[in-house]
Each structure stands twice: as structure tokens, then as C-alpha cells.
Symmetry: C2
DNA sequence: ATACCGTGTCACTGAGCGGTGACTTAGATC
DNA sequence: GATCTAAGTCACCGCTCAGTGACACGGTAT
């Protein structure tokens, strides 16, 4: 039994219900994509009456906003790099290649993040705008991190180059779910991805190196 | 008055109706995206009863298939290059940069194609699979075209490099509709795109050149 | 016990969707 | 002119959706 504090949770647990609803959003997002992410589906998945979504979150938009503030849909730079000292990378180019590779692996294992990225491509809403900030913060962190590993050569626009390469990785990643080839490269076999990774490596090495 | 051939169009013009339906598909696709592309919406846009869609095309899937076979949603290499002899490009890298730039411009002016690319990212269906072939054919043509302009250096995987860069361009292009920044670069101003184009140029020049 | 209020349940509306059957109209053929 | 058929119209079904109002339950305070 709950002691009667002035303002707190009852036995029919409001906070737990809210948590279940938020969890249902994440699960549906990862499994079925954002297309089927409606009030009915969420309530069904959470085993909860949909009216509670309106009561506790006053509708889908605010619910998604809440979800955006809670979930971890994006890695931090530290998480991506892991143990700094274990990485055998000397130059700026080495670090760029390493980060790209880790980013690719990380994204592959985040179906929810993939789904959010797809979502962003189609519409701007509360959730996507919220997350755009987080993502750009991550991007700036990454660039700052890179700059500690080797100063950016002044004759190269490292941020723009990074943007193109990251964009490429993201797009290829998002494609592979529904389509297995792109420009004649087969992404259903690990071979295709190895070619991409090798291409990224050579691009970075040749492009980010300060001119000899 | 229509002469009475053995089998042909009546005054209440079946062929014209079919054409109007197909046109409506294109218009809706370009303007409102594929989300709102339903039987009702198409019929409404075409000013036609939806039952005719079922009669003439036996449903949405076949209608889309028909549409895929008619529309020009993708440029040919010739269209992209324009007049061969007017281009001031000498090396393979020059040509790659030129093609990428033209491709980017061309895609920018094809909202329908952009929409189809978004579509492909979300689901595989009759239309998208149909178009995947066309696109890969275009990609192979482009690579073949490039190879006539300069042999691929054996130590570089030109197709894979091209795939990454094209993927990057496509992704950035698709993003700009709903979100204006990516990795700290602002795509609402022409400045952002200029940085990207410059980055592509330097990447291509440094990467595709045969090693000196 | 009773009244109260937070929590959860149920039933419903109105709208839009894909899809279908029955009807009307226009034109060609006889 | 009567008839037949293709082209187009209309009304409807069953479903899912977002959103809402009315009600049932269960602790708490009085």
C-alpha cells in the first residue's frame, strides 16, 4: 500500500502506464516503422486504452516529443570511439575512416534510428525536429573530436567532405532494407559493404591528408 | 464524329480517360508524395470515377506499373552530358565531377523522381522495383560512359566510390525538402550546396586520379 | 459508510479508405 | 426507331483511423 503523500503514484500505476506507452512507441517504431505509428496501434501494443494517451500526453505529437526526450536513438562520440588509447590511428584521415566505419556499424544495429532517419526524409514534425538537434550536436561533437586528433588542413573543407560521406553511408544503409542493389553493387552480400568500406577508406586517406 | 472502325475509341474517350488517370498519378506523386497516392485521390485529381481505375487498370498496382512504363522519371546519360564536345573535361576525374554535378542539378528539378527515391526507401512494390531496374541501368550506362573517357585505375574501385558519392548527393537532396541542415551545413542557402559541390570536386580529383 | 477523485474501460461518432454491384447514358449497328 | 454494348455514375459495404463522452472501479479522506 502506498503511503499517502501529497502528490504521487496510485496503485493503478499512472507512471508505469506512461512508461508502457513510451515503450510501445519505441517497439513499434523499430519493428513496423513510423507508418503504422498511430494512437490505436500504440495503445494496442502497450495493452492500454488509447484514451490514456490523450489524458497523459494530450495526443500523438506531444507523446512523440516525450519519446524523443527519453530514448537513446543516437550514439555519442565516446560510445562510438570506445577506448581512445586502443585505437591504432595516427593521422586525421585514420581517425575519419575509423569514425565512419564505427558509425556505419553502429547505425546498422539501430533499427529505430534508421526508421527515424527515414521519417525525417518524409516529413518534418515534432519528433524529427527534436532529433535533428541531437543529430547535429553529435555531428559537431564528432568534428570537434576529429579536430583534436589532427588539425583540419586549411585547403580542405573537412565538414563538407564528412557530410557527403556520412550522407552516403546513411543512404546506402537505409536502402538495403528494401532494395539490395545500388549502382550495380550488391548489398545483400558482405562483399558489397566491404567494397564500400574500402572506397570510404581510400577516399578519406587521399582527401583528408594534408597536401604533401 | 468518329468513324466506325472495328475496335477503337468511342466519343466518351476511354484512351483519354486512361491518360488522364495516368497524368493524375504523376501530378499527385510530384505534388503530394506517395503517401496520399490512393485510388480515391487519383480519381478525384483526374476528375473521374474511381471505378474506372479498376476497370481499365484492374487496381492500383497495375496502374502504377503502367505509369512506371510511361513516365520519364530518370535522365539518360546523353541527356545528362548534353553536347559531348562542349565539355571542357580532360581526365576521368574531370568527367566524374562533371557527371556528379549534372546529376545533382537534374535531380533537383525532378520532384517526382525525388519522391520515387523516397518511396524506394520505405517499401518495395511494383513501381519501385520496376524503377530500380531503370536506375541501375542508368548507373551502368554512366559507368560505361566514364570508362570511355578514361580507363579506370586498377587500384581504385571506381564503381564503389561513385556509389558512395551518388548516394551522398541523393541523400542530401532528399533531406533538403524537410530539413535544412545536416552536420552543421546549411542547405537553405546556396552556400551550403556550393561547399558540397566543392567537396565532391576535391574528393573526385584526389581519389579518381590515377596515382602519379 | 459515504463522498470524492484519480485510473482505467467501453461504446460511440465522423471521416476516409479500398473495393463492388447496380444503374444510367451515349453511340454504333441493325 | 429498337437494341446492344461500352463508358461513366451512384450508392453502398466493411474496415481502420483519430478523437470523445459516459461510465465503472478502487483507494483516500472525511
Amino acid at each position: 500500500m502506498v503511503t499517502s503523500q501529497q502528490e504521487d503514484f496510485m496503485a493503478r500505476d499512472k507512471e508505469e502506464t506512461k512508461a508502457r506507452i513510451l515503450a510501445a512507441v519505441g517497439k513499434l517504431l523499430a519493428e513496423s516503422g513510423f507508418k503504422s505509428l498511430g494512437v490505436n496501434a500504440i495503445a494496442r501494443e502497450a495493452g492500454v486504452d488509447k484514451v490514456l494517451i490523450y489524458r497523459y500526453f494530450e495526443g500523438l505529437p506531444r507523446l512523440l516529443q516525450c519519446f524523443a526526450q527519453e530514448g537513446d536513438y543516437w550514439p555519442t562520440v565516446d560510445e562510438l570511439v570506445g577506448d581512445d588509447s586502443m585505437v591504432d590511428a595516427k593521422t586525421l584521415a585514420d581517425w575519419m575512416a575509423y569514425l565512419l566505419s564505427r558509425f556505419s556499424d553502429n547505425l546498422q544495429e539501430r533499427p529505430m534510428t534508421q526508421e527515424i532517419l527515414r521519417w525525417e526524409l518524409l516529413e518534418g514534425n515534432e519528433l524529427t525536429r527534436e532529433l535533428a538537434d541531437v543529430r547535429d550536436k553529435f555531428a559537431l561533437d564528432s568534428l570537434k573530436f576529429l579536430e583534436t586528433k589532427g588539425p583540419f588542413p586549411p585547403d580542405k573543407d573537412i565538414p563538407a567532405i564528412s557530410a557527403v560521406l556520412v550522407a552516403g553511408v546513411v543512404y546506402l544503409m537505409l536502402r538495403t532494407k528494401s532494395s539490395s542493389t545500388f549502382m550495380g553493387i550488391d548489398f545483400s552480400s558482405p562483399d558489397g559493404w566491404q567494397r564500400i568500406e574500402a572506397a570510404l577508406n581510400s577516399i578519406v586517406q587521399l582527401t583528408a591528408e594534408s597536401k604533401p
